[in-house]
Amino acid sequence: MFEGIVAGLSTALSVQNLIMVVAGCLIGTFIGMLPGLGPMSIIAIMIPVAISIGDPAAALIMLAGVYYGAIFGGSTSSILINAPGVAGTVATSFDGYPMARKGQAGKALAVAAVSSFAGGTVGAVLLFGFAPALATVALLFHSAEYFALMVVGLSAIAAFAGTGKVAKALLMTVVGLMMATVGESALFNAPRFTMGIQDLQSGFSFITLAMAMFALPEAFHMVLDPKRGDRGQQSGGEIKDLMITRKEAKAIAPVIGRQSLQGFLIGVMPGAGATIASFLGYAVERNIAKGEDQEQFGKGSIKGLAAPETANNAACTGSFVPLLTLGIPGSGTTAILLGALIALNVDPGPRLMIDRPDIFWAVIVSMYLGNVVLLILNLPLIPYIAKVLAVPRNYLIPFILFFTLMGSYIGQNNATELLILVGLGVCATIMRFADYPLAPLLIGFILGGMLEDNFARAVNITDGVSFMWQRPGTLILLLIGVTLIFLPAWRRRRAFARQRAQVRKEGVADGD
């Protein structure tokens, strides 16, 4: 393991890769600041560029930088103009924007940067410990357990989708799995379900799908509802005075400590990413705070700003644990990264640490470097980068559309791909209006091939599906998966029954 870390360090600290981190962070911050463009869209747009770099370590390092930069850029626009570019930074605007209104925009940005840095640092240290341990356990897994693990991952993503959305998320996952079966696969002899269309022979392209699911709906939504693009345009004031006093540092230190741990653990769980971590972090800190401190939450509390910022960065780092050790993405963003890895001929999973230690450790090291870059490079540049917020929408949207088209075209060099992109993008926009979550579709699509491979291998070994109950590990995992799906449905049913009972007011006993 030690040699691996050294190899990773030397890879991450090479000049080329340092440039990648810096470039990734800057690009991510730049685009992440634009309201309405989340990290998923940005990474999707950047993938063709990353793939053409050719070196998987460099590509992944750049994409991870973009990811961090995007989250940081999102907090900047949350603080300055109350328009979070990213769902994970919505909680940041609760206290960040009021601070900016009070003329403390610079301080708010500094607090956000420092807490992000601290969250990312603690996350990276925990990742150092967690990832190898989990990878060692995962090496004992057979195809049967892998199959079960993917079922757990997919059901967790559906289960965490939110109230009333579990069935929709599940349906989206199934649709993603179905789309993954289109085209040729390594297992079988002939392409499947191509409907006679030559261009579907190799299946749907993952980049096209990622663009169609995230970038296009966001762009279309900005057009459809102009208010969304420029709500809260009144800026929170000039950016100056980036210093944090000693007293303030003392106040946020315990918050940062708690939230980096909590955020990381939430990030590790599949399906629960930066968004849940930041909201939960904010809620927990508000409950812990006492008296006047608690009153301040929502009115520009420095603690209320530090909590979600720490938590979302720690969760971003945490979400790399299942990606790097199990090859199973826990969130939409890591799903896109997984797709990029596969496109770069890297097989993610527990063997990654053994077969390609340079990549494994280089990514972990450069995540830390990414946090350093954000703190020492991006923070001073923020007043200048913030100028991007002034780009008029009439130019911004054509550019976003153009980059999605380009990304999909470069990957395939095929004009039919663009028509597929537009068609899927329109469908995705409509589905978004009906509150169907789109990330599960992409995660299902990316895991679909692996799921089928492992399923097939397990079935072939045991000549049937008896592996599901004969192997205890598989059985436990599958039971967890089933529970995850049915728990929210059961709770919702109970809440529904309780509502009805209350309406009737017949003195029916409450619950059981």
């Binding site: 929709k168 199934v174 799995l177 057009v223 459809l224 949207i397 009906a434 529904f496």
Partner: protein, 159 residues
Amino acid sequence: MALDRWIALIFLVISLIYGYAAFNYPLLPFERGMAFLPNTQPMALSALGMVVALIILFSPKARSDDEGGDGIDLAQLRQFKIGQTLGLVAAMVLYALLLRPIGFLAATSLFIAGCSMVLGERKFHVLIPIALVTAVAIWYLVQETLGIYMRPWPWFINN
């Protein structure tokens, strides 16, 4: 019926068609004896898809459904700029169809200029230079930096 149920209905139909295609999948002779067939997982998926779509179709509407999520209010539909959006979709389709015949530079500058105009931009002295510069710059980046060939000129100029 609410939009989400219509979508569930469409997915139900898709699952049925997909299941039909999976069920009638032409297996090769030697594949018949295998434990895991090319249509094993597709058949399971179509069954699962049908069940979940039916659950969405027939589940009672909970109160919490109205609040959460992205805050998209369908009642505002009339205020939405559907015309502009359709215009952009049309521009993208045209771009896809014209990219090969008229070449990258012309297609891209027309696309960016066209989209901006659809969105209401009328300052042509800003718009046209931006579109042209972007097209050339991106072409140069893609061609030289990424090394991906894209034909810059229309079909009648042989290059």
